[in-house]
C-alpha cells in the first residue's frame, strides 16, 4: 500500500513538475502588420501582365487575326486592332501600329475596389514615333488585366510623376474634386473645344496639342471639299464616361483616360463620295452621297491639382479609324 502511494506520489510529482516545464503558447497577434507595398500590382506582377499582353498581341499580329485577342486584350483595343488588321489586308494598306513591348514606366493603383487600372509608357517604337501610353483594366478579381487602349504621346507633352508601388496611384472617380476641374467636366470642356474649334471659350483651359490641331485641320479641309460639292462635313464627338478611368498623380493631379467616339460625316449634294483605296476594307455598306467615318480615340488628359498654376492638357491621343458607313 505504501509502495503504491509512493509510486503514485512520485509519478504525480514528476508530471506536476513537467507541467511547469513548457512555456505557455504565445499570445495571438491581433493586429495585422502594415503592407510593405500597397500598390495593387508590384513590378513583378505588372511585368507578367505586360509580357502576357505582348505575347498575345504578337500572336494575333502574326496571324492578323483579332479573334486571337481574347484574354489580355479587350474592349476598344480589340476594335481598333481589328480595324488595323483590316486596313493592312488591303493592297498597300498601312501596317498595324507598332506597340513596343519595352516599357519605361508602369503605374499601378493602390485601390481596394474594382475596376482597377494599370498604365504604362513604352519606349518609342522608332525615331519618328513618340512613346505609347497604354491602359489596362481589371474589371474584377477573377478577370485578367486587359489592354483596353493606347495612345501616342503628344510631342512635347510630359506625363506627370506618378506614385510608386509603395502606395500605388490613387484610383479616382470621374467626379473627383481637388482638381482644376473634375475629370468629367474637363472631358466635357475639351470635347466642346473639339466641336467648336480654336475659337471655343474652352481653348484657354487646355494647352495646345497636336491631336486637336490635326482634327481641326482635317475638318477645315474636308469642310471646304464638301462645300465645293455643295455638301456638308460634320464631326460628332461623344465621350464614353462609363469607360473613362482616372488615376491620381503624385502632385495631386489626375490622369484621365477617356475613350472618345468621333463620327465624321462627309456628304455631297449630287454625286458619290469616293473612298480612298487604302480605306476601302473598312467600308460597311454602300457609300453614295454620304460617308460616315467612325473613329474610336483614346485621349489621355492631365488635370493639375486645384492649387496648381499649371494648365490642363492632352498628353497622349490617337485617332483610330474603325469603320466607314453610309449613314
Amino acid at each position: 500500500m505504501n509502495r503504491r502511494i509512493i509510486a503514485i506520489g512520485t509519478g504525480a510529482s514528476a508530471l506536476l513538475m513537467l507541467t511547469g516545464c513548457v512555456a505557455d503558447v504565445p499570445e495571438p497577434v491581433t493586429e495585422a502588420p502594415a503592407l510593405e507595398q500597397e500598390a495593387a500590382l508590384l513590378e513583378a506582377q505588372s511585368d507578367r501582365i505586360v509580357e502576357a499582353t505582348m505575347a498575345e498581341l504578337a500572336l494575333a499580329d502574326e496571324e492578323a487575326d483579332a479573334d486571337l485577342l481574347t484574354d489580355r486584350i479587350g474592349g476598344d483595343a480589340v476594335t481598333v486592332r481589328k480595324a488595323q488588321y483590316t486596313l493592312a489586308s488591303a493592297d498597300d494598306g498601312p501596317t498595324p501600329v507598332v506597340l513596343p513591348a519595352e516599357m519605361q514606366a508602369v503605374y499601378s493603383v493602390g485601390a481596394d475596389t474594382w475596376p482597377r487600372t494599370l498604365a504604362s509608357v513604352s519606349q518609342p517604337a522608332d525615331e519618328d514615333s513618340t512613346p505609347v501610353v497604354m491602359l489596362w483594366i481589371q474589371d474584377d478579381v477573377d478577370t485578367d488585366y486587359q489592354l483596353r487602349g493606347w495612345a501616342h504621346m503628344i510631342p512635347g507633352a510630359t506625363i506627370p510623376a506618378m506614385a510608386g508601388t509603395t502606395s500605388g496611384a490613387e484610383q479616382l472617380t470621374v467626379d473627383a474634386d481637388g482638381l482644376l476641374a473634375t475629370p468629367e467636366e474637363a472631358i466635357s470642356n475639351y470635347l466642346e473645344l473639339l466641336r467648336e474649334g480654336e475659337d471655343s471659350e474652352f481653348a484657354e483651359q487646355f494647352t495646345a496639342d497636336s491631336y486637336r490641331e490635326q482634327l481641326f485641320a482635317s475638318r477645315e479641309a474636308l469642310t471646304e471639299t464638301a462645300n465645293d460639292a455643295e455638301g456638308e462635313y460634320v464631326d460628332t464627338i461623344e465621350s464614353d464616361i462609363d469607360s473613362t478611368y482616372v488615376m491620381g498623380t503624385a502632385d495631386g493631379g489626375a490622369l484621365v483616360f477617356a475613350p472618345v467616339s468621333v463620327k465624321s460625316s462627309f456628304s455631297v449634294d449630287d454625286g458619290i463620295v469616293e473612298i480612298a483605296g487604302a480605306q476601302q476594307p473598312l467600308v460597311d455598306g454602300d457609300i453614295e452621297d454620304v460617308a460616315v467615318y467612325e473613329y474610336r480615340d483614346l485621349i489621355v488628359l492631365h488635370i493639375p491639382a486645384a492649387d496648381s498654376d499649371d494648365t490642363a492638357g492632352v498628353v497622349a491621343a490617337d485617332h483610330n479609324l474603325i469603320r466607314i458607313t453610309d449613314s
Binding site: 497577434v29 493586429e31 503592407l35 495593387a40 479587350g74 470621374v174 464616361i241 462609363d242
Partner: protein, 359 residues
C-alpha cells in the same frame, strides 16, 4: 540522529529524487513541436496576423496533387475567397493544435463606384471578350486535369510556391501584411495543415535532479549495507593502523631521539654570543678548508674579508632568525679554523636554532 540514520534518510530521499528525475527525463517534452489541423476544403488561408504569429516557423499543407501557396493583399485575397469555400487557420490554442474555422470575408467598407455618373454617350460599349473557359470533354473520355487556379485571373498573386502532395513555406518569406492562401490546383480537398514551432522547455533541473538522486541513493545504500555487517573489528584495525601511522600516543618515541627529549621536557640549549664559539673540529663535518657557499645555512656568516675571523663584535647572532642571511655570498677566502664552526653540530642540537634557520 546518528550518522547512519541520516545517511539512510538521505538514501530514501535520493531514491525519490532519482525516480522523479528518471520519469521526468522519460516524459521530457520536446522543444520542437508541430501544431496540426485537419482540413476538408481545397483552400486554406493564413491571415496576415497568423503569418506574423508564425514568424520564422514553417507553414505546411498536405494534400494530393499539386498544391500552390500564394500571397496577396488582404483585400484581394478576400475578394478572391468570397466565391470560394476555404478554411482559415485562426490560432494556436495548444502547442500541438491549430484552430480553424470556415473563412469569412471581411466586410468591405462602402465605397463609391468609380463611374457613377450617367453617360451621355450613345455609343454602345464593345462586347466583352469571349470567356476563356473550356468546354467539358465528351462523355466516356478520360477527364483532363483540372486547374481551378488558372480558370480565373492569377494577377492578384504576388508570390507563389508549389509542391506535389505538400507545400511548405517559411512564414518569414511572406511579406508583412500579405495573406497566405494555399490551394490544391485540381480542387481536391486538402488534408492537413501544420505549423512547425520551437518552444522553450525548462528542463534544466532534470539532469541535476538525477545526479543528486544517484548520489544520495549511493549514500543510503552504503549506510544500508553497513547496517548488516559488524564492522567493529575492522574499525579497531583501522584505528590501530591510524594510530601507528600518526603516532599520536605518548609512547613510541625512540629513546634518545629529539622527540623523546622534547617529550621529556628537556630545556632548550642556550647559546652565548659573548663567548667565542669553540671550534669543534672533531665534530665539524665540514673542514675549514671548505669554502662557505650559499648552500650553507649559515647565520651570521658575514662575508669574511681578509680572512678576519668573525668575532663577537659581529652584531650577528647565530640564534637570530631575523638576521639577514648573508651566507649566500661566498667567502672570499677560506676560513680555516675560523669560528664559523658555530655551525657545528653543537648548534644543531638546539632545536630552536634549527627552526630559526628554517624560518
Amino acid at each position: 540522529m546518528t550518522f547512519r540514520t541520516a545517511a539512510l534518510v538521505a538514501g530514501a530521499l535520493g531514491v525519490v529524487l532519482l525516480t522523479v528525475g528518471l520519469i521526468a527525463d522519460a516524459q521530457r517534452p520536446p522543444t520542437d513541436v508541430e501544431a496540426v489541423a485537419s482540413l476538408d476544403t481545397s483552400v486554406v488561408v493564413y491571415s496576415p496576423e497568423m503569418v506574423e504569429f508564425a514568424d520564422e516557423s514553417r507553414i505546411g499543407v498536405d494534400g494530393s496533387g499539386e498544391i500552390v501557396a500564394m500571397t496577396a493583399r488582404p483585400v484581394d485575397a478576400d475578394a478572391w475567397l468570397a466565391t470560394r469555400e476555404a478554411t482559415e487557420v485562426t490560432g494556436l490554442p495548444e502547442w500541438e493544435v491549430l484552430s480553424t474555422q470556415a473563412y469569412e470575408v471581411a466586410e468591405p467598407e462602402p465605397t463609391a463606384s468609380p463611374t457613377t455618373s450617367a453617360s451621355p454617350s450613345a455609343e454602345a460599349s464593345p462586347s466583352p471578350s469571349p470567356s476563356p473557359s473550356a468546354s467539358p470533354s465528351g462523355e466516356g473520355e478520360e477527364a483532363e486535369p483540372v486547374d481551378v487556379l488558372s480558370q480565373t485571373s492569377t494577377d492578384l498573386w504576388r508570390q507563389e510556391w508549389s509542391g506535389t502532395d505538400r507545400v511548405a513555406v517559411v512564414a518569414s518569406k511572406v511579406p508583412d501584411g500579405e495573406t497566405l492562401v494555399i490551394a490544391s490546383r485540381d480542387g481536391s480537398p486538402l488534408t492537413t495543415t501544420d505549423l512547425a514551432l520551437s518552444r522553450e522547455v525548462n528542463d534544466g533541473w532534470i539532469t541535476p535532479l538525477i545526479w543528486w538522486g544517484i548520489a544520495l541513493t549511493v549514500v543510503g545504500a552504503v549506510a544500508l549495507i553497513l547496517r548488516f555487517f559488524d564492522t567493529r573489528p575492522l574499525q579497531a584495525k583501522a584505528e590501530n593502523w591510524r594510530q601507528g601511522r600518526t603516532g599520536t600516543g605518548d609512547t613510541d618515541a625512540d629513546p634518545g631521539s629529539r622527540r623523546a627529549r622534547r617529550a621529556s621536557g628537556a630545556g632548550l640549549p642556550e647559546a652565548s654570543l659573548d663567548e667565542p664559539a669553540s671550534p669543534a673540529t672533531g665534530a665539524t663535518p665540514t673542514t675549514g678548508a671548505t669554502p662557505t657557499t650559499g648552500a650553507t645555512p649559515v647565520t651570521g656568516a658575514t662575508p669574511v674579508t681578509g680572512g678576519s675571523p668573525i668575532s663577537g663584535q659581529s652584531p650577528v647572532s647565530s640564534r637570530s632568525p631575523f638576521h639577514p642571511v648573508t651566507g649566500g655570498t661566498p667567502a672570499s677566502a677560506p676560513s680555516t679554523g675560523s669560528p664559523r664552526s658555530a655551525q657545528s653540530p653543537a648548534v644543531d642540537e638546539g632545536p630552536n636554532n634549527g627552526e630559526g634557520g628554517r624560518a
